[in-house]
């Protein structure tokens, strides 16, 4: 699973790069589907990933407020900060850990650790697909969703 996180992080960083010069009015404009705006989507992806991974590791949810992250640069800093932790946690995955039964405070269900990893991975890819439609509407560059061509074969 680790290589799919590396993939998501590469794609996310490339979107940050594409979107960093987009006017704030476009970043915050309400759009059809998804979380509602480009900037909310990016914040949501970063926030949800960290909450789940912290949760299944037994740590509290930092619950950052969207209102404090109203530009690409601040969301990217949050993403970079979180990633340092995530690299530590996810860089040492084992089959045994993926099978561990886990619970998080905001959900009554129990899950497999690896089930949550897949949930988080699919969540980001799904939202990035939405972003690609909005980017097309805005006539700006779109980041490729290809997994191949990113040097990730060695992380399989």
């Amino acid at each position: 699973m680790y290589s799919l996180f590396l993939y998501n992080w590469q794609v996310r960083d490339e979107w940050f790069e594409v979107l960093k010069d987009l006017p704030i009015e476009e970043l915050t404009a309400e759009r059809g589907g998804g979380i509602g705006s480009i900037i909310k989507t990016l914040f949501h992806i970063v926030d949800v990933e960290y909450s789940w991974i912290r949760g299944i590791e037994g740590y509290d949810d930092p619950a950052p407020l969207f209102e404090d992250f109203l530009n690409i640069q601040s969301i990217q800093r949050l993403s970079d900060d979180y990633r340092k932790d995530l690299l530590q946690i996810l860089g040492t995955l084992t089959d045994d850990r993926e099978l561990r039964v886990v619970k998080v405070p905001w959900d009554e269900e129990s899950y497999r650790y690896g089930e949550i990893l897949r949930h988080v991975i699919a969540h980001e890819i799904h939202h990035m697909g939405q972003l690609s439609v909005w980017a097309k509407e805005l006539d700006i560059d779109r980041v490729t969703a290809n997994f191949i061509g990113r040097g990730l074969g060695r992380s399989i």
Copy 2:
């Protein structure tokens, strides 16, 4: 990886169900981003998945023509047919197989078998994200992208 294929197939079948009664004009309308229309996107997902998996298994590409699949029911039948093969191939994945170096006829690069599996998985989730934006625009039901809540924990 197998559970992520099961996830994609569940999501895909739920989209078939949601979209089967949508008028053909809406299914074929050109939309911003992605492959261009809802029906082309569905055909593309089914076609690409099978081509890659057949390719890395050393089989030829059946290369179905989009023009022969101009409604949801025919694409779903194609998807069902292909799935019988894919279940056989992907139901017996091993770590060794994922590390195998593979080539396909349409690409000069060599890849890891597991790299292509991840490419195909991310490809479908990405396009389904696009579909969700278009469904919102059309004000029709959207299929959840959640991996949790689908009984897939036991397939981890």
